[in-house]
Homo-oligomer: 403 residues x 2
């Protein structure tokens, strides 16, 4: 019998409870015959009408001090007190599983190190891509590969908004309002539309792929708030779509280049057809080539099902660390910005003649807006692109093209 | 130090050798510090020019009787002697990993049972989808889900042929010849184009998802040899594509419906845009919804990288069975054909009026070929569809529509 606890009875936490209740037998078979039983639910709110209200506690110490509890799911979100709770639990020899991307991206290095030292596990499958299996497949199934590149649609809210702009011709503002009305976007949508959520997720994936801590503060992050309907139409005219991409590239020198930015993606890339609130992560390995993982990146049961799979794995690996981790390195692991070139899609009111003088060879797109030039540059570093753009009369739009 | 052996030094076997040689350090880290070293390569051919020719043996007993060897990769293909070798190795307490879908689909139940009894592992990640992580993610990451449905593009050769027909307007015969010239299709292409390869793979996935042995002989299998260029054009006119799909559906009564057949897939389904030799498997779980795994389904290094990941996992789980298995049940696990309805796309020289008399409500497609009716029926069982089609003057084409 494995006793588990859940911290946080919100959307994901209640999903975890529901799945464990409904699937006790199958989960027990998956956990090598160990029955998985919920012993505590930690939440500061009252749930007096809950059929198992006796499980609820407001005192974290009930969980921490109960030797019967071997695995705890932290699905409360936020940094504090999630960090302090997780640290105490790991130090006391309990495994912790989480959907909390902010916590993993911020304190993951330290928490994984503690877990390793205590020979327990800190699993975080649900922190990236919701229910999509990505952490474990990358760590285990692609272990024979040097990961060369990751490009992912990691935020369902922004993908929904861009998809509405693409398929329904809605403006950014209208699409955002629609997403808010449907509950896909928060009232304060900054974390999503400004790319911060995707940034934390690509930081986790890049850390996992490289074994070195990638600080999300070091990742240049650009959101989708500047993307206009005309940009989307230009992309369509180029047989492409605009998506918010979390990108990481791993150099032979061990350096990592990473960015979050809207990118133009050719329609022959499977990422371009990822619709609505779906997420997809394309991972390029030196042996396997491109593999993509696709599914719902958020939502109660998808996310909760990933948390429960982590619980089962933690129960199976009780007191046996699976050694999923990364380390903080002395040296800066981030590659110099100038090491990476992208082609840029640029719109300007300058004439093609002037554009060619500045950018040399580039690919022009039939203009959709009168009196402007729209074109795709040769691959340029960010500094090169900025320097050249500064010579244009104006820049109506500039968007990277995914390679 | 974990000593491993490879049986079969063909495309995949030499890839396994290359990857282990090139990545010794990283694999050792993944295998919890155990160094992975190749001790034998079994092949009946001579490799006197090989830089490590001393590893080669023609005598299986060298491997079987060497207590140092704990994990063996069987990548020789075919049923015999792969079956006898694998059985002997498992019985002697060695773990075996394989890319041999035919062996897993035919003798997997027995071999998994032996592995379980001996507390060793029989892993087969590479047997379905080449380098795409699918077996382990389905088994581990989706463990909180009841799997409801699997629909996969499981054969790269047929997908390449259909893709050429779709994108280049080539006939089936021309596309097949092209695939043969490029080395994607065998001189005798029957196993691919008649669907037998996909059938073995969906049998493995259905067995894994249900925990019950699905005999591939019980799966109705239809290839792509009857698909014409006009069928492909009709599909395009319906915003769809024709793909060869391995399909399995899992009923609440524990019964499994499975079929391999060309299917019409709407373009809003990500499976429709899977191009060339790529594979993709869509798995529907009751919690997670649709998740898709995409990548190269064949090829030396992609497949070998999955075999090597299995080797590493077997080294980590030495003398500890991971309990990936399914069982042969007394009762027939296959659902009655009449339990499943598909819509059918049908072409006939009959007039629409007659079609409607027979099929009732159906959705007509503007005809591409003169003097014929093309339409999509309401969902029908196979018996209903056949009965109604028998009343038509002729049936030029009938293709299931993926739900």
């Amino acid at each position: 019998m494995a006793k588990v606890a859940v911290m946080g009875y919100g959307t994901v936490g209640s999903g975890v409870y529901d799945i464990i209740k409904a699937n006790a037998d199958r989960l027990s078979r998956s956990a090598n015959g160990e029955k998985v039983e919920m012993k505590y639910i930690l939440d500061i709110r009252d749930f007096d009408d809950h059929p198992e209200k006796e499980l609820f506690t407001k005192d974290f110490n009930d969980i921490l001090n109960d030797d019967e509890v071997s695995v705890v799911a932290e699905v409360m979100g936020g940094l504090h007190p999630a960090y302090e709770f997780t640290k105490s639990l790991l130090e006391s020899g309990k495994s912790v599983v989480t959907s909390n991307k902010e916590l993993v991206a911020t304190y993951g290095t330290e928490l994984l190190e503690i877990a390793r030292g205590k020979n327990v596990n800190y699993f975080f499958e649900a922190s990236v891509g919701g229910g999509i299996p990505i952490i474990r497949p990358m760590h285990q199934c692609l272990t024979a590969n040097n990961i060369l590149k990751i490009a992912g649609i990691l935020n369902g809210t922004t993908n929904y908004i861009l998809d509405k702009m693409i398929t329904k011709g809605e403006t950014f503002e209208a699409a955002l309002k629609d997403a808010q009305d449907k509950g896909f976007a928060e009232r304060n949508p900054a974390a999503d539309v400004e790319g911060h959520d995707a940034c934390r997720k690509i930081a986790i994936l890049a850390s996992l792929a490289s074994g070195k801590m990638v600080d999300y503060n070091d990742i240049e992050t650009e959101g989708i708030t500047n993307i206009t309907l005309n940009d989307v139409k230009y992309a369509a005219a180029m047989d492409s779509a605009i998506k918010l991409i979390g990108y990481a590239q791993f150099g032979e020198d061990g350096k990592i280049y990473s960015i979050v930015s809207p990118m133009i993606i050719k329609n022959d890339n499977p990422l371009s057809s990822v619709d609505g609130v779906f997420n997809a992560i394309m991972v390029t390995g030196d042996c396997v080539g491109d593999v993509m993982f696709y599914g719902k990146g958020a939502g109660k049961l998808p996310t909760a099902s990933a948390v429960v799979a982590d619980i089962v794995d933690a129960v199976k690996h009780n007191e046996r660390s699976k050694k999923i981790f990364w380390e903080k390195t002395e040296k800066n692991v981030m590659a110099d910005k100038s090491s990476k070139k992208f082609s840029y899609f640029i719109r300007t009111s300058d004439l093609a003649e002037n554009v060619m003088k500045i950018f040399g060879k580039c690919e022009f797109v039939d203009n959709i807006v009168d009196n402007e030039s729209a074109f795709v540059t040769q691959p340029l570093t960010q500094a090169e692109a900025e320097e050249k753009m500064s010579k244009l009369t104006d820049v109506v739009a500039n968007i990277r093209v995914l390679d």
